[in-house]
Symmetry: C2
Subunit: 269 residues, 2 copies
């Protein structure tokens, strides 16, 4: 049996709660783990709660009743998030990111763990009231960001594919028209990946015309699920008319001037 001091127990409790965003732990789980009475646990939970809240690191919620317990919801100081997004904007507008065709190289940012964890948590904080019960994306480049958003909400991720030769059992398939290139494409997902009635939040790296997002919405509808929100790292300013409405984007990409080597990007509050 581990015999710990209170301060050591609080360090462990803080880590365990923070590691599992949105997971409701029963009080008895921790009472057993730490071999303490419920009254002692309540004091420890209060210490973690006020410690994390004092430094803007998230909220600790207690739910009373038989099915109750304690859970952690990630949080950040708004000024820290604003500084993080401004810094990311500065990195994104570096001329060496300009790709032929006026797009930006973002792969390194989308594959950097601390960055996508942070972005996923900011999406969660901005879209909390949508209460999604799953996150949906389409292969490939948006998957890490979508995964970390799923982690921040503690809900499963659903990945749609561009090919229909998936070895994932029976699939649902749709055709959609790309909003920017007007090419007809295919999108598929395993039938059992999404339940009817699910509340789906779409997450992807870039939205131009909105055709891909519209395709995901059609795929979700096909199985009787409901799309409650769409969130992107970057939305391009052009075309002005998108195929989807009511979306969230961290950045608006106004212009990539290949000749002048200049990127114009705006941070959305």
């Amino acid at each position: 049996m581990v015999k710990a001091k209170r301060i050591e127990r609080v360090a462990a409790l803080s880590k365990l709660l923070a590691d599992h965003p949105y997971r409701l732990f029963s009080f008895s789980y921790f009472c057993k783990k730490f071999a303490i009475a419920k009254s002692t646990l309540s004091e420890d939970v209060l210490a973690v709660k006020s410690g994390l809240e004092l430094y803007g690191l998230g909220k600790v919620e207690t739910v009373s009743g038989a099915a109750g317990g304690v859970r952690f919801i990630p949080g950040h100081l708004p000024e820290d998030d604003a500084a993080f997004l401004e810094e990311l904007a500065a990195r994104l507008t570096s001329p060496d990111r300009i790709l032929p065709g006026g797009m930006l190289y973002t792969t390194d940012i989308l594959c950097h763990p601390e960055t996508v964890v942070r972005l996923g948590e900011i999406f969660m904080l901005r879209l909390q009231e949508l209460a999604p019960d799953c996150i949906m994306t389409v292969e490939t480049s948006g998957i890490p960001l979508a995964m970390q958003t799923a982690r921040a909400f503690n809900v499963p991720l659903v990945i749609a594919r561009h090919t229909s030769d998936i070895t994932e059992g029976s699939t649902v398939n749709i055709n959609y028209v790309s909003g920017s290139t007007k090419v007809i494409q295919n999108m598929a997902m395993p039938k059992r990946a999404l339940q009817p009635g699910s509340r789906v939040l779409i997450v992807d790296d870039v939205m131009k015309g909105g055709g891909t997002a519209k395709g995901m919405i059609a795929l979700a509808h096909e199985v009787g699920a409901q799309v409650v929100g769409k969130a992107f790292l970057i939305a391009t300013a052009a075309p002005d008319r998108k195929l989807v409405e009511d979306y969230t984007a961290f950045f608006t990409l106004h212009n990539v001037d290949e000749e002048q080597q200049k990127v114009t990007l705006e941070v959305n509050k």
Copy 2:
């Protein structure tokens, strides 16, 4: 200025360290954040260290000297990991996962945040001494697991593609032969995604013949990087001779009997 009690500060410190595996925080970063002297911080770090280590939640390392600081390395109790893998094996052998052709439906497991976070950390714990400086996978189903392994090591993820029409700037392309189906396939990655001399750990969901892993090794060699390890969720027992050696797999899939609806899967210690 936030005025916190010691126990509240320790809760916050534990959360901040645990949130950023392998990141070396300078002592002055925390002294400034908490407005405390270095001697006070040292005591707080010791409390977090012993708290997390007492409950098998990871290690806190202090590095002395001018470039020194403190960092957290995730950890689990070996018995907890063994129980977790046994439970996952029980889920994987459920007959409703059997797909035509003798494979298993694993998408839900590979897209469940808490499960892949845990698996990523176990890979890190088992392969720590390889000291990779990046994780590599190929689209699509292994990406969430590879992402969380990258997070546990705090190193970037590199995603290879099966198509060469990537809008990620100039690419490196190779052809490879699938180990199980003997079909020639293409694999590509952005040239700037991987630096010469990098120590690459390959992570994927399933290895059958090893052709895809061999393709990733060729891709890494093409840019002068070195593959230091290969890690999979599942390796199939057949074929016995794989195209790659020295790999790690959580599970060995011995047989999927479609007629008897029986899956034989072994947990690798």
